[in-house]
């Protein structure tokens, strides 16, 4: 046998071109798709694409052209585009494939491929393209098709349309920060004479002028920049809940009130520099905490998993119809790798549906016509036709989203630690302030007020308020470097409190893709293997293909009387021997009794069972060590939507029978988590698919394992790149250390507070001491929090 084994790589995507390369103009490509992109680029003199970056192209081998004609439907169109008039249309697409400088270059030179595209601009971090094109000359679907042809398939789904409006980022904090910074700088400048002790030597007119300017500059800071702290404190007061914003608001109000009083009565210079500086630093911390990972989405629900349109068959024609307009009774055509848009009944074709994402079943199920199909399954194989019985949002697997857990927002932004600190600080500050007040009232009313406000000012826990966002954001940043992406900094805290970890099986502990096949039974001779190979090679069924691939490149023998019995197996005669390959049921019919095993792909030669191939999914790398390590500090559990044929492999890892469950529906998973929580446990759910969505939402931490962070993942608190799965115990350890660091930072800032308070209770606090102590304490606490986090990460062995 001759095979071309020279290491030829595809000119476009640099992948192995394989045994059957596509050759065009003496260049080698792995597939037609890559060739076509190369051709288009050559024709339009866009070959710079290959010079800008090392691996610009990506393989188009398993890709198939999508149909975008539904985009031209006026209603859909109006929801997708940002702007349209008779001359120009402007649209914004998400292209998850954008990955290098060459992508940017190519996408911004689309006007060379099609002159009707007036302008295109890429946002690399968001993986978005903003395009303007000529409405009369080119339609939206043609634009989408062009992108798709080049390998950049626009990611258009139900959710992306629903959320088009509120996608612009919240910029308020940036404005607040800008204005606080501006006012802070100018107030400091105007306070300089006072710092240097010049205010006694210069004209008192200037002192008054500077004071008034300072008040004017501080007003926008109080009513705009500091707004959120005051509002949150009032809210806390109204609901009787302590939060960290309360002592801060107390400090803010006393700072501002006392300063205005001092300036207007000419009794002092006020603390407006400290006031504006405090707000400025607090806002920096807040902004730091709010920074998000642009390319990740933690909010997705089933809507972003479903396509926007389906092909409806009407009077022999296929019409691309938006999914929300699908009605029971519609006939829908489903092609290979497409998702079933709504529950229905299979009418035509061999259904082979992969439900692994929606139910957790690891193997595709074969369905004959007449059987019910559920929305969300992915069809693998030839075209099928189904008649819908439900609308998409009423489909069986979608109804999970009606559960309350999806309608109640998880805890707000503030962390438990912050609330605890807020409570302690508010109580302590009020006690100290009022004791100081009553003490001084015996002697001197003016000094009493002075000392009272000074206590409120100096005890303001700004250092604590800063240490939390900076420490936690730094921990979150280190985690992101190690490929665990958190939705917000709260997740760090929740991660540190864990005592129970629940795993999903399919796609989480096992990989969805790699299969591990092994044979049990009488060993077969080389010739028999060739016979089986020749037979399975005739079939397009995924299991047959898997088996053929496993057996390798054997000789192909002539097969006569090949027959495929739907959802059972295949049979044929090779070298005068009748061979049957199929399920246990199929073999039972052939040999007349049940084979000794329920699961697997059975082989019978001349009506003699020879054994069966077991197809197992491979464990992820490091699963055993990870689960064992986590078992030391947490209680673990396994919940699988799949059947229990794999159970034996998990007994060692999950020894407790009550915490190793199979045949779990999405609701059962959710309830399991809820029961643990009712018993006071803090639970992390680690999952990957839609069937885990309820449990992920319910758990204190919902963590999604993702092979490709661009792909769909259900709403969660954390996304873990599958390649970093083995780091999970270290990452949890880091979060625990992070919380300890915050407690240490509290101690540090308390020291400063005590020093400040010792001045304040004696009514000795001067603006200069406040202006020095406040930034000094904040900066040391921030530096301590960040560097201790880095030190810890290095010690645990994580990347920085």
């Amino acid at each position: 046998m001759t095979t071309v084994t020279a290491t030829t790589t595809c000119l476009h995507c640099n992948d192995e071109a394989g045994d059957h390369p596509v050759i065009w103009n003496e260049n080698i490509f792995c597939c037609e798709g890559c060739k076509m992109v190369y051709e288009i680029l050559q024709e339009n003199e866009l070959s710079t694409f290959y010079q800008l970056d090392e691996n610009p192209g990506f393989s188009l081998k398993s890709k198939q052209q999508k149909d975008y004609t539904y985009l031209d439907d006026p209603e859909t169109l109006s929801k997708v585009v940002n702007f349209q008039d008779e001359n120009f249309t402007r649209v914004n697409f998400t292209l998850p494939q954008i990955h290098c400088a060459s992508c940017i270059w190519l996408l911004e030179h689309l006007y060379r491929v099609n002159p009707h595209i007036v302008q295109s601009k890429v946002n690399f971090l968001k993986k978005e393209i903003d395009m303007t094109f000529n409405t009369k000359e080119i339609s939206l679907s043609e634009v989408a098709n062009l992108l798709d042809k080049l390998g950049y398939s626009p990611d258009i789904n139900l959710q992306s349309i629903d959320e088009k409006q509120n996608r612009s980022a919240n910029k308020t904090i940036i404005y607040q920060l800008g204005i606080a910074g501006f006012c802070f700088g100018n107030v400091m400048l105007l306070s300089f004479p006072e710092y240097l002790g010049l205010d006694e030597t210069i004209d008192p007119q200037f002192t008054r002028f500077f004071g008034l300017l300072n008040i004017i500059l501080s007003i926008p800071v109080l009513i705009f920049s500091a707004r959120d702290y005051l509002i949150s404190a009032v809210k806390g007061l109204r609901f009787g809940q302590f939060n960290l914003d309360m002592p801060i608001a107390l400090g803010i109000i006393s700072l501002f009130g006392r300063s205005v009083y001092e300036i207007l009565t000419h009794t002092g210079a006020g603390y407006l520099d400290s006031f504006t500086g405090l707000i400025f630093f607090l806002l920096i911390g807040k902004w730091f905490q709010q920074r998000v990972y642009n390319h990740l989405s933690f909010e997705r629900d089933y809507k972003s998993y479903f396509p926007l349109a389906a092909m409806v068959l009407k009077a022999g024609k296929t019409i691309s119809t938006p999914v929300r307009e699908l009605r029971p009774g519609d006939r829908v055509l489903i092609k290979n790798q497409e998702i079933i848009p709504a529950d229905g009944i299979l009418i035509n074709g061999d259904g082979n549906i992969d439900y692994s994402f929606v139910t957790g079943e690891s193997h595709p199920v074969t369905k004959a016509s007449g059987s019910r199909l559920f929305a969300g399954g992915r069809h693998v194989g030839g075209n099928i036709e189904i008649e819908l019985t439900q609308k998409t949002d009423q489909s069986y697997l979608i109804r999970l989203w009606d559960h309350d857990v999806f309608h109640n927002a998880k805890e707000g932004e503030t962390t438990r630690i912050a609330n605890l600190a807020g409570k302690l600080f508010t109580i302590a500050i009020l006690i100290i302030a009022f004791s100081t007040l009553t003490w001084w009232l015996q002697f001197d009313t003016a000094k009493a007020i002075n000392a009272f406000t000074a206590v409120l000012i100096i005890a303001c826990p700004c250092a604590v308020a800063l240490s939390i966002p900076f420490t936690l954001s730094n921990i979150a940043r280190i985690m992101a470097r190690n490929k665990l992406f958190l939705r917000n900094t709260n997740a760090v805290e929740n991660l540190s409190r864990l005592d129970n970890i629940v795993f999903d099986k399919t796609g989480t502990l096992t990989t969805g893709m790699e299969q591990n096949i092994h044979f049990e039974g009488q060993s077969m001779t080389g010739e028999e293997l060739e016979m089986v190979y020749s037979l399975v090679n005739q079939s397009n069924h995924p299991k047959s293909r898997m088996l053929a691939k496993h057996l390798g490149d054997l000789n192909r023998l002539h097969v006569i009387g090949f027959a495929e019995i739907e959802s059972k197996g295949i049979t044929g005669i090779v070298r005068q021997a009748t061979i049957h390959v199929g399920s246990a049921k199929f073999i039972e019919e052939i040999i007349g009794h049940k084979p000794d095993n329920k699961h697997g792909l059975f082989i019978a030669i001349d009506h003699q069972v020879r054994g069966h191939f077991l197809i197992k999914q491979a464990f992820r790398d490091g699963v055993e060590e990870v689960v064992k390590t986590l078992n030391n500090t947490n209680d673990t559990a396994l919940l699988s939507g799949d059947n229990d044929k794999d159970e034996n492999r998990f007994i060692q890892l999950f020894p407790d029978k009550n915490r190793r469950k199979f045949f779990q529906s999405p609701e059962m998973k959710l309830d399991f988590i809820h029961t643990l929580q009712k018993n006071g446990k803090t639970v992390m759910m680690v999952g990957d698919g839609l069937n885990d969505a309820g449990a992920l939402q319910m758990a204190d931490i919902g963590m999604v394992i993702s092979d490709d962070t661009n792909n769909f993942s259900p709403a969660c608190d954390a996304i873990l790149d599958a390649r970093a799965f083995d780091k999970l115990p270290a990452l949890i350890q880091l979060s625990r250390g992070g919380i300890k660091i915050i407690y240490l930072a509290f101690l540090l800032s308390l020291t400063y507070n005590i020093i400040g308070l010792s001045f304040a209770v004696q009514a000795l606090l001067s603006p200069v001491i406040a202006a020095i102590l406040m930034p000094l304490s904040s900066i040391t606490v921030v530096i301590f929090g960040v560097s201790a986090g880095n030190f810890l990460a290095r010690k645990i062995g994580l990347h920085l």
Binding site: T48, L52, A101, I104, W105, E108, K121, V122, N123, F124, L125, K126, A169, K171, I174, Y175, G178, I179, F182, G185, N186, L190, I202, D203, F206, F209, L213
Partner: protein, 45 residues
């Protein structure tokens, strides 16, 4: 010395111009993508 009143007034107005420029830049979306423009400037056309 009373010239200081004028000078401080002018300096505040200049500073306000910069504040306005900052707010305009945020509104314009100049801080939304800090990666792509850095690549774009290196393209030859």
């Amino acid at each position: 010395m009373s010239i200081l009143f004028l000078l401080i007034g002018i300096s505040l107005i200049v500073a306000l111009v910069f504040l306005a420029a900052f707010i305009w830049a945020v509104r314009d979306g100049q801080f939304e993508d800090d990666y792509t423009p850095a690549e774009r400037i290196l393209f030859e056309d």
